[in-house]
Amino acid sequence: MRIIVIGGKGLAEQVADALHQAGDEVTVFDTEPGRESALAKAGLRAVRGDALVPSTLEAAGALRADVLVACTQSDEDNLVISLLAKKRFNVPRVIARVNDPANDELFTDLWGVDALVSPATALVSMIRQQS
Protein backbone atom coordinates (compact mmCIF):
# COMPACT_ATOMS: atom_id res chain seq x y z
CA MET A 1 0.00 0.00 0.00
CA ARG A 2 1.03 3.60 -0.58
CA ILE A 3 0.96 5.41 2.73
CA ILE A 4 1.75 9.02 3.66
CA VAL A 5 2.48 9.69 7.31
CA ILE A 6 2.47 13.34 8.33
CA GLY A 7 4.20 14.51 11.48
CA GLY A 8 7.56 15.06 13.08
CA LYS A 9 9.72 12.82 15.16
CA GLY A 10 8.14 10.46 17.68
CA LEU A 11 4.92 8.64 16.88
CA ALA A 12 4.80 9.59 13.18
CA GLU A 13 8.30 8.32 12.50
CA GLN A 14 7.80 5.15 14.51
CA VAL A 15 4.58 4.36 12.64
CA ALA A 16 6.26 5.07 9.29
CA ASP A 17 9.23 2.91 10.16
CA ALA A 18 7.05 -0.04 11.23
CA LEU A 19 4.95 0.17 8.05
CA HIS A 20 8.11 0.41 5.96
CA GLN A 21 9.51 -2.71 7.66
CA ALA A 22 6.25 -4.48 6.83
CA GLY A 23 6.79 -3.76 3.13
CA ASP A 24 4.51 -0.77 2.50
CA GLU A 25 5.54 2.14 0.32
CA VAL A 26 5.81 4.86 2.95
CA THR A 27 6.40 8.59 2.57
CA VAL A 28 7.07 10.59 5.72
CA PHE A 29 5.88 14.16 5.42
CA ASP A 30 8.03 15.80 8.03
CA THR A 31 6.77 19.09 9.41
CA GLU A 32 9.91 19.69 11.48
CA PRO A 33 13.26 20.68 9.99
CA GLY A 34 16.47 18.72 10.41
CA ARG A 35 15.13 15.16 10.32
CA GLU A 36 15.90 14.31 6.71
CA SER A 37 19.16 12.46 7.34
CA ALA A 38 17.70 10.31 10.13
CA LEU A 39 14.74 9.37 7.91
CA ALA A 40 16.94 8.62 4.91
CA LYS A 41 19.13 6.43 7.09
CA ALA A 42 16.05 4.38 7.99
CA GLY A 43 15.35 3.94 4.27
CA LEU A 44 12.20 6.08 4.30
CA ARG A 45 11.13 8.46 1.55
CA ALA A 46 11.02 11.82 3.27
CA VAL A 47 9.33 15.05 2.22
CA ARG A 48 9.82 18.15 4.27
CA GLY A 49 7.38 21.01 4.25
CA ASP A 50 4.18 22.61 5.40
CA ALA A 51 1.29 20.14 5.17
CA LEU A 52 -1.23 23.00 5.10
CA VAL A 53 -0.07 23.90 1.58
CA PRO A 54 -2.08 21.75 -0.86
CA SER A 55 0.61 21.82 -3.59
CA THR A 56 3.16 20.44 -1.13
CA LEU A 57 0.83 17.60 -0.16
CA GLU A 58 0.30 16.85 -3.83
CA ALA A 59 4.06 16.74 -4.41
CA ALA A 60 4.28 14.19 -1.60
CA GLY A 61 1.96 11.94 -3.61
CA ALA A 62 -1.40 12.66 -1.97
CA LEU A 63 -3.27 11.93 -5.22
CA ARG A 64 -1.94 8.38 -5.39
CA ALA A 65 -1.98 7.49 -1.69
CA ASP A 66 -4.12 4.61 -0.38
CA VAL A 67 -3.80 5.80 3.21
CA LEU A 68 -2.91 9.12 4.81
CA VAL A 69 -2.08 9.37 8.50
CA ALA A 70 -2.33 12.88 10.01
CA CYS A 71 -0.06 12.40 12.97
CA THR A 72 1.23 15.85 13.97
CA GLN A 73 1.19 17.09 17.55
CA SER A 74 -1.45 19.69 16.70
CA ASP A 75 -5.10 18.62 16.62
CA GLU A 76 -6.14 21.55 14.44
CA ASP A 77 -3.39 20.74 11.92
CA ASN A 78 -4.50 17.09 11.86
CA LEU A 79 -8.13 18.11 11.22
CA VAL A 80 -7.26 20.46 8.37
CA ILE A 81 -4.84 17.94 6.81
CA SER A 82 -7.47 15.18 7.05
CA LEU A 83 -10.12 17.30 5.37
CA LEU A 84 -7.72 18.32 2.59
CA ALA A 85 -6.73 14.68 2.08
CA LYS A 86 -10.34 13.56 1.79
CA LYS A 87 -11.90 16.51 0.02
CA ARG A 88 -9.17 17.60 -2.35
CA PHE A 89 -7.15 14.43 -2.88
CA ASN A 90 -9.83 11.75 -2.38
CA VAL A 91 -7.54 9.62 -0.23
CA PRO A 92 -9.51 6.39 0.41
CA ARG A 93 -8.51 6.01 4.05
CA VAL A 94 -7.63 8.91 6.34
CA ILE A 95 -6.44 8.23 9.87
CA ALA A 96 -5.85 11.07 12.34
CA ARG A 97 -4.17 11.34 15.68
CA VAL A 98 -5.92 13.09 18.57
CA ASN A 99 -3.55 14.76 21.00
CA ASP A 100 -6.07 16.27 23.42
CA PRO A 101 -8.91 13.87 24.34
CA ALA A 102 -11.17 16.93 24.72
CA ASN A 103 -11.08 17.14 20.91
CA ASP A 104 -12.08 13.48 20.30
CA GLU A 105 -15.58 14.38 19.15
CA LEU A 106 -14.25 16.55 16.30
CA PHE A 107 -12.47 13.66 14.60
CA THR A 108 -15.33 12.41 12.41
CA ASP A 109 -16.24 12.30 8.74
CA LEU A 110 -17.10 15.99 9.07
CA TRP A 111 -13.33 16.48 8.82
CA GLY A 112 -12.70 13.60 6.42
CA VAL A 113 -11.46 11.33 9.23
CA ASP A 114 -12.18 7.61 8.69
CA ALA A 115 -10.49 6.48 11.89
CA LEU A 116 -8.90 8.22 14.85
CA VAL A 117 -6.03 7.27 17.08
CA SER A 118 -6.19 8.77 20.52
CA PRO A 119 -3.27 7.51 22.64
CA ALA A 120 -4.66 9.00 25.86
CA THR A 121 -8.17 7.62 25.34
CA ALA A 122 -6.79 4.20 24.37
CA LEU A 123 -4.67 4.09 27.49
CA VAL A 124 -7.54 5.09 29.76
CA SER A 125 -9.89 2.48 28.29
CA MET A 126 -7.20 -0.16 28.67
CA ILE A 127 -6.79 0.74 32.34
CA ARG A 128 -10.57 0.63 32.83
CA GLN A 129 -10.77 -2.84 31.24
CA GLN A 130 -8.00 -4.14 33.48
CA SER A 131 -9.59 -2.99 36.71
Partner: protein, 218 residues
Amino acid sequence: MQVVITGCGRTGRALATRLDAEGDKVTVIELDDTLERGLPAGFRGRFVPGNGINPRVLKAAGIADAEAFVALTANDSANIVSARLARDIYRVPHVLARLHDPAHAPVYTEFGIPTVGSVQTTVNRIIQLLHHRTLEPHQTFGNGETLLVRSRVPAYLAGRRAGEFDVPGEIAVVELSRAGHSKIPEPSTPLEDGDVLSFIVAAASLGRLQSFLGERWS
Protein backbone atom coordinates in the same frame (compact mmCIF):
# COMPACT_ATOMS: atom_id res chain seq x y z
CA MET B 1 -24.78 42.36 17.08
CA GLN B 2 -23.64 39.34 19.06
CA VAL B 3 -20.03 38.59 18.12
CA VAL B 4 -17.72 35.75 19.16
CA ILE B 5 -13.98 36.28 18.68
CA THR B 6 -11.23 33.68 19.14
CA GLY B 7 -7.82 35.02 20.08
CA CYS B 8 -7.15 37.83 22.51
CA GLY B 9 -3.84 38.99 21.07
CA ARG B 10 -3.24 42.48 19.72
CA THR B 11 -5.84 42.21 16.96
CA GLY B 12 -8.46 40.29 18.94
CA ARG B 13 -8.19 42.71 21.84
CA ALA B 14 -8.43 45.77 19.60
CA LEU B 15 -11.43 44.40 17.71
CA ALA B 16 -13.22 43.33 20.91
CA THR B 17 -12.65 46.75 22.47
CA ARG B 18 -13.88 48.57 19.39
CA LEU B 19 -17.00 46.41 18.91
CA ASP B 20 -17.81 46.74 22.61
CA ALA B 21 -17.53 50.53 22.34
CA GLU B 22 -19.91 50.47 19.39
CA GLY B 23 -22.52 48.61 21.44
CA ASP B 24 -22.02 45.06 20.17
CA LYS B 25 -22.25 42.11 22.53
CA VAL B 26 -18.77 40.60 22.45
CA THR B 27 -17.39 37.31 23.75
CA VAL B 28 -13.67 36.56 23.47
CA ILE B 29 -12.33 33.00 23.58
CA GLU B 30 -8.64 32.69 24.50
CA LEU B 31 -6.48 29.71 25.43
CA ASP B 32 -4.20 31.80 27.64
CA ASP B 33 -6.39 33.02 30.51
CA THR B 34 -3.79 35.59 31.61
CA LEU B 35 -4.65 37.64 28.50
CA GLU B 36 -7.99 38.66 30.02
CA ARG B 37 -6.01 41.38 31.81
CA GLY B 38 -5.27 42.96 28.44
CA LEU B 39 -8.91 43.94 27.96
CA PRO B 40 -9.73 47.51 28.99
CA ALA B 41 -11.24 48.26 32.41
CA GLY B 42 -14.68 49.22 31.15
CA PHE B 43 -15.04 46.20 28.82
CA ARG B 44 -18.61 44.89 29.07
CA GLY B 45 -18.08 41.76 27.00
CA ARG B 46 -17.29 38.25 28.25
CA PHE B 47 -14.00 36.39 28.36
CA VAL B 48 -14.16 32.61 27.98
CA PRO B 49 -10.90 30.76 28.62
CA GLY B 50 -10.38 27.70 26.43
CA ASN B 51 -9.55 26.40 22.97
CA GLY B 52 -11.73 27.89 20.22
CA ILE B 53 -11.76 24.63 18.26
CA ASN B 54 -13.51 22.85 21.15
CA PRO B 55 -17.30 22.65 20.68
CA ARG B 56 -17.91 22.89 24.43
CA VAL B 57 -15.92 26.11 24.62
CA LEU B 58 -17.69 27.52 21.56
CA LYS B 59 -21.08 26.72 23.08
CA ALA B 60 -20.07 28.30 26.41
CA ALA B 61 -19.22 31.44 24.43
CA GLY B 62 -22.75 31.52 23.01
CA ILE B 63 -21.86 30.52 19.45
CA ALA B 64 -25.39 29.18 18.89
CA ASP B 65 -26.83 32.72 19.18
CA ALA B 66 -23.96 34.62 17.57
CA GLU B 67 -24.52 36.71 14.46
CA ALA B 68 -20.84 36.94 13.71
CA PHE B 69 -17.71 34.89 14.38
CA VAL B 70 -14.16 36.13 13.86
CA ALA B 71 -11.17 33.77 14.17
CA LEU B 72 -8.14 35.82 15.12
CA THR B 73 -5.71 33.43 16.77
CA ALA B 74 -2.08 33.30 15.64
CA ASN B 75 -2.61 29.79 14.28
CA ASP B 76 -4.03 29.42 10.76
CA SER B 77 -5.29 25.86 11.20
CA ALA B 78 -7.01 26.73 14.50
CA ASN B 79 -8.68 29.63 12.68
CA ILE B 80 -9.81 27.34 9.85
CA VAL B 81 -11.21 24.70 12.22
CA SER B 82 -13.15 27.11 14.43
CA ALA B 83 -14.41 29.19 11.47
CA ARG B 84 -15.65 26.10 9.67
CA LEU B 85 -17.40 24.86 12.83
CA ALA B 86 -19.00 28.27 13.34
CA ARG B 87 -20.29 28.36 9.78
CA ASP B 88 -21.29 24.73 9.12
CA ILE B 89 -22.30 23.42 12.55
CA TYR B 90 -23.58 26.52 14.36
CA ARG B 91 -24.80 28.34 11.24
CA VAL B 92 -23.33 31.69 12.22
CA PRO B 93 -24.33 34.09 9.41
CA HIS B 94 -21.08 36.10 9.26
CA VAL B 95 -17.79 34.24 9.60
CA LEU B 96 -14.35 35.73 9.03
CA ALA B 97 -10.88 34.39 9.70
CA ARG B 98 -7.46 35.88 9.80
CA LEU B 99 -4.88 34.49 7.39
CA HIS B 100 -1.29 34.68 8.63
CA ASP B 101 0.76 32.72 6.14
CA PRO B 102 -0.18 33.62 2.53
CA ALA B 103 0.89 30.06 1.58
CA HIS B 104 -2.19 28.82 3.48
CA ALA B 105 -4.63 30.92 1.43
CA PRO B 106 -5.61 27.95 -0.83
CA VAL B 107 -6.82 25.99 2.21
CA TYR B 108 -9.14 28.79 3.33
CA THR B 109 -10.40 29.08 -0.26
CA GLU B 110 -10.89 25.31 -0.50
CA PHE B 111 -13.09 25.39 2.59
CA GLY B 112 -14.86 28.60 1.57
CA ILE B 113 -13.78 30.71 4.54
CA PRO B 114 -13.46 34.47 3.86
CA THR B 115 -10.14 35.77 5.13
CA VAL B 116 -8.47 38.96 6.14
CA GLY B 117 -4.84 38.50 5.22
CA SER B 118 -2.56 40.68 7.29
CA VAL B 119 0.54 40.13 5.19
CA GLN B 120 -1.16 40.51 1.81
CA THR B 121 -3.11 43.60 2.85
CA THR B 122 0.01 45.25 4.26
CA VAL B 123 2.14 44.44 1.20
CA ASN B 124 -0.52 45.68 -1.23
CA ARG B 125 -0.89 48.89 0.73
CA ILE B 126 2.84 49.53 0.91
CA ILE B 127 3.30 48.92 -2.83
CA GLN B 128 0.41 51.30 -3.42
CA LEU B 129 2.00 54.01 -1.30
CA LEU B 130 5.49 53.53 -2.73
CA HIS B 131 4.82 53.05 -6.41
CA HIS B 132 1.34 54.26 -7.24
CA ARG B 133 0.82 57.38 -5.17
CA THR B 134 -0.84 59.13 -8.11
CA LEU B 135 -3.47 56.41 -8.38
CA GLU B 136 -5.01 56.63 -4.95
CA PRO B 137 -7.72 53.96 -4.71
CA HIS B 138 -11.28 54.99 -3.93
CA GLN B 139 -12.09 51.47 -2.85
CA THR B 140 -10.16 48.23 -2.43
CA PHE B 141 -11.70 44.77 -2.64
CA GLY B 142 -10.81 41.51 -0.89
CA ASN B 143 -7.35 41.86 0.57
CA GLY B 144 -6.40 44.61 -1.83
CA GLU B 145 -6.07 42.34 -4.88
CA THR B 146 -8.30 44.63 -6.93
CA LEU B 147 -8.98 48.36 -6.61
CA LEU B 148 -11.25 51.07 -7.90
CA VAL B 149 -9.17 54.05 -9.07
CA ARG B 150 -10.11 57.28 -10.83
CA SER B 151 -7.89 59.32 -13.06
CA ARG B 152 -8.13 62.34 -15.30
CA VAL B 153 -7.56 61.52 -18.95
CA PRO B 154 -4.40 63.36 -20.07
CA ALA B 155 -4.83 65.78 -22.98
CA TYR B 156 -2.74 63.76 -25.38
CA LEU B 157 -5.15 60.82 -25.07
CA ALA B 158 -8.19 62.86 -26.24
CA GLY B 159 -9.81 61.08 -29.15
CA ARG B 160 -8.79 57.62 -27.99
CA ARG B 161 -11.62 55.23 -27.16
CA ALA B 162 -12.56 54.09 -23.63
CA GLY B 163 -12.20 50.44 -24.63
CA GLU B 164 -8.52 50.94 -25.43
CA PHE B 165 -7.76 50.88 -21.70
CA ASP B 166 -9.43 47.50 -21.17
CA VAL B 167 -7.08 44.61 -20.54
CA PRO B 168 -8.96 41.39 -19.85
CA GLY B 169 -8.27 40.17 -16.32
CA GLU B 170 -6.27 43.29 -15.46
CA ILE B 171 -7.98 46.60 -16.18
CA ALA B 172 -11.65 47.45 -16.85
CA VAL B 173 -13.02 50.93 -17.55
CA VAL B 174 -16.27 51.13 -15.57
CA GLU B 175 -17.28 54.80 -15.47
CA LEU B 176 -16.76 58.13 -17.22
CA SER B 177 -17.35 61.56 -15.70
CA ARG B 178 -17.60 64.51 -18.10
CA ALA B 179 -18.63 68.03 -17.20
CA GLY B 180 -20.25 66.95 -13.94
CA HIS B 181 -22.18 64.05 -15.44
CA SER B 182 -21.38 60.40 -15.00
CA LYS B 183 -22.08 57.54 -17.38
CA ILE B 184 -20.97 54.02 -18.14
CA PRO B 185 -18.93 54.34 -21.34
CA GLU B 186 -19.06 51.90 -24.20
CA PRO B 187 -15.75 50.58 -25.54
CA SER B 188 -16.25 52.82 -28.58
CA THR B 189 -16.89 56.03 -26.57
CA PRO B 190 -14.32 58.66 -27.61
CA LEU B 191 -12.51 60.37 -24.74
CA GLU B 192 -12.16 64.11 -24.35
CA ASP B 193 -9.61 66.26 -22.59
CA GLY B 194 -10.80 66.72 -18.99
CA ASP B 195 -12.70 63.42 -18.77
CA VAL B 196 -12.27 61.45 -15.56
CA LEU B 197 -12.32 57.66 -15.87
CA SER B 198 -12.96 55.04 -13.18
CA PHE B 199 -11.09 51.78 -13.52
CA ILE B 200 -11.26 48.46 -11.73
CA VAL B 201 -7.67 47.32 -11.76
CA ALA B 202 -5.76 44.34 -10.40
CA ALA B 203 -3.16 45.44 -7.84
CA ALA B 204 -0.48 43.75 -9.93
CA SER B 205 -1.50 45.81 -12.98
CA LEU B 206 -1.37 49.28 -11.39
CA GLY B 207 1.97 49.91 -13.05
CA ARG B 208 0.50 49.07 -16.42
CA LEU B 209 -2.44 51.43 -15.95
CA GLN B 210 -0.04 54.12 -14.82
CA SER B 211 2.03 53.72 -17.97
CA PHE B 212 -1.15 53.96 -20.10
CA LEU B 213 -1.97 57.23 -18.39
CA GLY B 214 1.53 58.53 -18.98
CA GLU B 215 2.39 58.80 -15.30
CA ARG B 216 5.98 58.10 -14.42
CA TRP B 217 6.84 55.27 -12.07
CA SER B 218 8.05 56.88 -8.89
